[in-house]
């Protein structure tokens, strides 16, 4: 990203008036960097390191033997192989369906497009336990798609991974695609290239950075997928993530968990490196892009439209509609009975009513969102600057990667890490409610940073320079020039942070207090019990969760109009 020369810094000379050169600005820069770093250090790095290092401690001395043994076992390598296979297939599937989707949902223009974009985003933030049941209901031998015999197969898991990650590709690639100058393709067509050839030789190379960047992210999400693998993979499929969970919670085999965490870290760092490299190229490419230009539907778009229609209907809507359908099945036939029950605590089954849990989710979501957006705002602000020195740029790249780590580290590791670190005053937060929004904010942080960063970078440096030349202090430039411009990208960041918090289950389940459960926790509790009413309520609550998510994302799409960027 250093090659993306924003304020002339890449040339190692500073222009007069550039903010970077203004000495008085550095403390602000440092504070903006230090607060999020401290937050991440205390609530993420420290707990994770504390737990992983225990794996190297053999009751009285430090040892590598246990960890080495785990890394040498055939079982470990089988799990690594399965993880990589799933991640690669999930990524390829998401790309194969997501690229045509990006074209239809971002490059073309038609009524109802915003709604479809919001629908495509819903799966990304749905709790995996809900997705698991929706997919299984669809694919089980007795389900509507039972004849496909996909239940418990690799294909089912990959389909669920694509279901989750479709929108990541659609968004990343779509935003860049919408910004491409259509005249290049038109020129190719005029010169006699048929549409497929024009796509392969003109459009695809231009999209390559966004595709690569999305691929790396999707790979990361797939490699760390947990719930869907456990629920849909049948008992034979294990991944590094499910194995860490099993070794930690069921066996308390910390050396094994530590070894696998290190494997996970290697996978994460590798995909982050790929992602960063690809993004650096994308940001350079973005300069070439004109203002977003959408096209009317033409004949050449038909294959992509068909593909996207099938994907949205078959892969996204079918499981969601199965969910809705099953939520309407009550003891006495079809109806809204299960929704009426949401006002109750399921005959004492839950500590509070489902609506109360929904209210908890909203409050938690607002706090988590504020934390994530403020911290993410600071981080992306710092990352959007281009330091003069090589050292500074390296440090910046490192910082960038560190804030992406929560995407790839197991919630179990973080949850157990909290237990052994935040256990003494003044940080004895284990019994405190605030730990839940904090954990959720950490999960949401990478997405917020990725969403805000391009917006910061897109602010024309000349505006800042002009303000500075006119005598505005750096703080004033920030307040009067940059923040108003940023507010347009903020809508989407707020949406993602809020939706992530609404759907977060992994870390929350470790921290939730019985008197303040969140909506996903309640869904999980209800679905773990027999009875038509409990299942019905669980599915109705899941539909409410999905709907809330869709509304949040639709609002974010509206607020973020014209300022959408890829990740």
């Amino acid at each position: 990203m250093s090659r993306y020369q924003r304020s002339g810094a890449g040339a190692t000379t500073t222009r007069p008036g550039s903010l970077w050169a203004a000495a008085s600005f550095k403390p602000v820069w440092a504070i903006a960097a230090l607060i999020p770093l401290a937050f991440l250090a205390v609530f993420f790095v420290w707990p994770v390191l504390a737990l992983v290092t225990r794996g190297f401690y053999d009751s009285e001395s430090w040892t590598l033997t246990n960890v080495a043994e785990v890394l040498g076992s055939a079982r470990t390598w089988r799990i690594i192989r399965q993880t990589l296979t799933l991640a690669v297939l999930g990524t390829l599937g998401s790309l194969a369906l997501g690229v045509p989707g990006a074209y239809v949902l971002y490059r073309l223009s038609f009524r109802g497009q915003k709604l479809l974009r919001a629908i495509a985003t819903v799966p990304f933030v749905l709790p995996s336990v809900v997705v698991g049941v929706a997919f299984r209901s669809l694919l089980a031998d007795s389900g509507p798609l039972g004849f496909l015999k996909l239940d418990g197969t690799l294909v089912a898991v990959v389909a669920a991974l694509v279901f989750f990650n479709y929108s990541v590709v659609v968004r990343s690639v779509g935003v860049l695609w919408a910004g491409l100058d259509p005249r290049q393709v038109e020129a190719a067509a005029t010169l006699g290239a048929p549409p497929p050839r024009a796509f392969l030789t003109v459009t695809l190379p231009a999209l390559a950075p966004a595709i690569a960047s999305a691929a790396a992210l999707v790979f990361l999400f797939c490699a760390s997928a947990f719930g869907v693998v456990l629920i849909l993979g049948g008992s034979r499929t294990g991944t590094v993530e499910t194995e860490i969970w099993y070794q930690t919670t069921a066996l308390l085999n910390l050396p094994a968990a530590a070894a696998l965490s290190i494997v996970q870290l290697v996978i994460v760092v590798a995909s982050l490196w790929l992602s960063n490299t690809a993004r650096a190229r994308q940001e350079r490419a973005l300069r070439l892009a004109g203002s977003p230009k959408q096209l009317p539907i033409t004949k050449t778009g038909i294959p992509a439209i068909c593909c996207t229609a099938l994907t949205v209907a078959g892969l996204l809507l079918a499981p969601l509609l199965t969910l809705v359908w099953r939520s309407l099945q009550t003891r006495t036939g079809l109806g809204f009975g299960n929704y009426a029950l949401l006002a109750t605590n399921a005959n004492g089954n839950l500590s509070v009513s489902v609506w109360r849990a929904a209210a908890n989710s909203l409050v938690t979501g607002v706090v988590a969102m504020l934390l994530a957006v403020v911290l993410g705002g600071c981080v992306s602000f710092v990352l959007s600057r281009t330091p003069v020195s090589r050292w500074g740029r390296t440090l910046l790249r490192f910082t960038d990667s560190v804030f992406m780590l929560p995407l790839g580290v197991s919630a179990v590791t973080v949850g157990f890490g909290f237990l052994i670190t935040l256990n003494r005053p003044p940080l004895d937060l284990r019994t405190s409610w605030i730990l839940i929004p904090i954990a959720q904010a950490i999960v949401a942080l990478p997405l917020v940073v990725r969403t805000l960063l391009p917006t910061w970078r897109a602010i024309d440096p000349r505006l800042r320079e002009a303000a500075a030349t006119l005598g505005a202090s750096p703080g004033r430039v920030l307040a009067t020039v940059e923040l108003p411009l940023l507010s347009r990208g903020l809508g989407l960041a707020v949406g993602f942070a809020f939706a992530t918090s609404l759907g977060e289950f992994g870390a929350t389940s470790f921290l939730a207090r019985p008197d303040r459960p969140t909506l996903p926790v309640v869904v999980y509790k209800l679905i773990s019990r027999p009875g038509v009413d409990n299942l019905g309520m669980a599915l109705a609550a899941a539909v409410v969760l999905a709907l809330a998510t869709a509304i949040v994302m639709a609002l974010a799409e509206l607020l973020g109009r014209g300022e959408e960027r890829g990740w």
């Binding site: 007795s142 005959n347 004492g348 089954n349 157990f416 038509v532």
Partner: protein, 368 residues
């Protein structure tokens, strides 16, 4: 968190007159408090209630539930303010206690079951205590001789059958382990993976209780008879089982003795039945966490859980049977819950010593 502890469920058709009940509860507990003043023979010594901290942290599994009235009665009677935490289920709860040994999560734990009790005891994360309220004659429910854990309630993990399914085919419902191996019952049973599900682990322990060292041969034959394995109770019961709302393809499912209560049809009959012949008795314990900052309060809490009044709310609140044989069960239990007279029991220490091995061997034989 693939599979929690799907506790059999609620059905509070008959909430008794709460006020009257609570008055009785408060009075009964006041009596216990006076009595427990005499039980000074417990480790950790006795401190006078006046020096006792006025807060208590109760760490529970995810299915823990007491009514607000019951909780309030404890606080009113003892003057102790209670915070409830439910960090995890089953094995995870024990793992967390072991991990936080140096700075305990709380004072008292509720919800360790006999499939994981052995590990908690071996790791010395509990302070032994013998409650004066512990009913006599329930020695078979104790986790060890030291009293590291106090049994509070129990439930039977049993196979459940879809009555209509068998009736429609004119087939008898299988009742024994050998029945399940017969060719006519091929492809009918769905169980859960013991690695990821606590009923799955209970059923694996039951097979060991029934067959001893030969349990693996049994599983091999069962797998050959077209056994279906789901990773969690939720999928097995709500997706695969034909007798639940999911209308799956398997008429036999691993669940609980209490599950038929929730499958009551319009005719006032349960659509399913629990098979009493192959049940594993899961016992849930409470214990004082070693290093607790309020061990005396923890003792009072355990005593409280054993009072008859609290014991009688357990079926409605947690869907388990109270350990106190004198506690009356709700009517709906009398009607639908199969009485398991001869459950399979395996000592906690045996389970602790073998659990990981069983799971590994089971995985190799059944999942390949």
């Amino acid at each position: 968190m693939a599979d929690g502890q799907p506790q059999p469920v609620p059905f509070t058709t008959e909430r008794h007159s709460m006020n009257k009940k609570l008055l009785a509860l408060a009075m009964a507990f006041a009596a216990t408090l006076t009595l427990s003043g005499c039980s000074g023979d417990t480790p950790g010594g006795t401190s006078s209630p006046t020096t006792m901290p006025d807060t208590l942290t109760v760490v529970t599994h995810g299915s823990f539930s007491l009514s607000d009235e019951t909780k309030a009665a404890f606080e009113a009677e003892t003057g102790i303010k209670v915070t409830y935490l439910s960090p995890a289920d089953g094995g995870t709860l024990v793992s967390e206690l072991i991990l936080t040994k140096d700075a305990p999560l709380g004072d008292v734990v509720f919800g360790i079951d006999n499939t994981f009790a052995g590990r908690a005891i071996a790791a010395a994360v509990l302070q032994p205590y013998r409650s004066p309220n512990l009913p006599s004659g329930i020695d078979d429910l104790l986790a060890d001789d030291q009293g590291s854990l106090t049994p509070i309630d129990f439930g039977d993990v049993c196979l459940n059958a879809d009555i209509a399914w068998y009736a429609a085919r004119g087939q008898a419902i299988p009742q024994t382990f050998p029945d399940l191996l017969k060719p006519e019952y091929a492809g009918q049973l769905v169980v859960t993976n013991p690695a990821t599900s606590s009923p799955g682990l209970a059923f694996l322990a039951a097979s060991y209780g029934a067959f001893g060292q030969d349990y693996l041969n049994y599983w091999e034959a069962l797998a050959a008879n077209d056994l279906k394995v789901a990773s969690s109770w939720t999928e097995a019961y709500t997706v695969e089982f034909s007798g639940s709302s999911g209308h799956g393809n398997y008429p036999l499912v691993l669940s609980y003795a209490t599950s038929p209560m929730y499958e009551e049809n319009e005719a006032g009959q349960s659509a399913t039945v629990a098979l009493p012949g192959m049940c594993f008795r899961q016992v849930e314990y409470a214990g004082i966490i070693a290093g607790a900052s309020n061990p005396e309060g923890a003792k009072l809490f355990i005593d409280f859980l054993l009072t008859r009044e609290v014991q009688e709310t357990i079926p409605d609140e947690m869907y388990m049977a109270p350990v106190n044989p004198e506690a009356t069960l709700p009517q709906v239990w009398e009607k639908y819950v199969s009485v398991v007279t001869d459950p399979i029991t395996v000592p906690a220490a045996v389970i602790a010593a073998n659990r990981d091995n069983w799971i590994r061997e089971w995985t190799e034989v059944v999942l390949g």
